[in-house]
């Protein structure tokens, strides 16, 4: 149940067996079925969730009812509405499962206690949040600078798993383009090859 989680943690910090046992006690193991909600916009995000298995997405819905993808999270990824999780304010995103999922979830009080008792976990999360900031900055640059085709090509290069695993309409929404535009881009790329 914690296999992938500790593999992921050990890539950044080395935990002893005793520390691993302690860390385990703070996480809620949770299975989520496809299409089931983990968080709804307007509720407080109570958990930071690590994906052991499956695929989730975070997104918001505009006034016209259109969904805008924020993030996808599969095995080895974390997902939450971080602002809501840390501040206790209402969430701006929805999170649900695209595939059946197995999660490890932690609440803010447990997060605080765990990082105090196992300081290496604080370092782990510091590295994680650091990487997250960089990824968000890159996505912002990509969104402001690149053409639709460049955005798709970059995504295919950096996250090929995402392209293979996620429905095209959701990828289009993630890139901020219409499914028709994405279809055209994919066709062009195939022709170029």
């Amino acid at each position: 149940m914690f296999n992938l989680f500790f593999t992921h943690v050990q890539e950044k910090v080395l935990l002893s067996t005793a520390e691993q046992e302690l860390v385990k006690n703070y996480f809620i193991p949770k299975k989520l079925r496809k299409k089931q909600y983990l968080l709804q916009e307007g509720d407080v995000c109570k958990y930071l969730s690590f994906v052991e298995k499956g695929l989730l997405r975070s997104y918001n819905v505009d006034d016209k009812g259109l969904e805008h993808m924020i993030q996808f999270a599969w095995e080895g990824w974390w997902i939450a509405d971080t602002y809501s999780f840390l501040s206790g304010e209402s969430a701006a995103y929805n999170i649900d499962a695209i595939e059946d999922a197995e999660l490890l979830m932690i609440t803010l009080p447990h997060f605080e206690e765990m990082t105090l008792k196992v300081p290496k976990m604080e370092r782990y999360f510091r590295i994680l949040f650091q990487n997250n900031i960089i990824a968000k900055e890159r996505r912002l640059i990509s969104s402001n600078t690149y053409s639709a085709e460049e955005k798709y090509t970059k995504l295919a290069e950096t996250q090929p798993q995402l392209i293979q695993r996620i429905p095209q309409n959701l990828i289009a929404s993630y890139l901020g383009i219409t499914p028709e535009t994405l279809s055209r881009i994919r066709k062009n790329i195939t022709l170029k090859k």
Binding site: Y26, I28, Y37, D63
Partner: protein
């Protein structure tokens, strides 16, 4: 067809409650009592699918919008659940606790029993869960005449349990 925004509201996050031993008398009373549109019920019993199907139909007849899944594995049900209710004979509860231990960390686990309560023993078996023990007495044929003594340390879990007991219709006494 509903507009997307309404559809989204319709699919809002629901607490998933597993009832282990749902097809027996006490489990059935609990399942019927707590079923509503805000919860998702996981009715679990081993080798008693016909009885679970009957219970599901009974709940659907009363509250058609309830979301219900039938399961045969207590570990699987507890893994999927936010709240776990164990309503099996007290002689089987220790065995159930051992099976669900790994997947019940930090979750509310409510042990219902019609015999004398085993007090803190279940909390010792599930040290990282929020364990509540509920002792039930009175005639099982008349829910309103039944009394529940609630015992547990975690305040949030106690509150959740008391709310459930009120919904079911038991009289209750909080033994903190």
């Amino acid at each position: 067809m509903l507009p997307l925004h309404n559809k989204q509201k319709e699919m809002a996050y629901k607490n998933t409650i597993a009832i282990i031993g749902a097809s027996y008398t006490l489990g059935t009373i609990i399942a019927i009592g707590i079923s509503n549109v805000d919860n998702r019920l996981l009715l679990m019993d081993e080798g008693r699918l016909p009885q679970l199907v009957k219970l599901r139909n009974e709940i659907f007849a009363l509250k058609s919008a309830t979301e219900i899944e039938l399961l045969h594995c207590c570990k699987g049900a507890s893994w999927e659940a936010d709240i776990i209710i164990v309503a099996v004979d007290s002689t089987k509860q220790i065995d159930i606790a051992a099976k669900i231990k790994e997947v019940s960390t930090c979750k509310v686990v409510i042990f219902f029993t019609s015999s004398a309560n085993n007090g803190n023993e279940m909390q010792k078996l599930l040290p990282h869960s929020k364990v509540i023990n509920v002792s039930i007495s009175g005639s099982i044929k008349n829910v309103a005449s039944m009394h529940a003594i609630v015992n547990g340390k975690d305040l949030q879990a106690l509150q959740i349990t008391i709310e459930m007991i009120k919904k079911i219709g038991f009289n209750y006494q909080n033994k903190i």
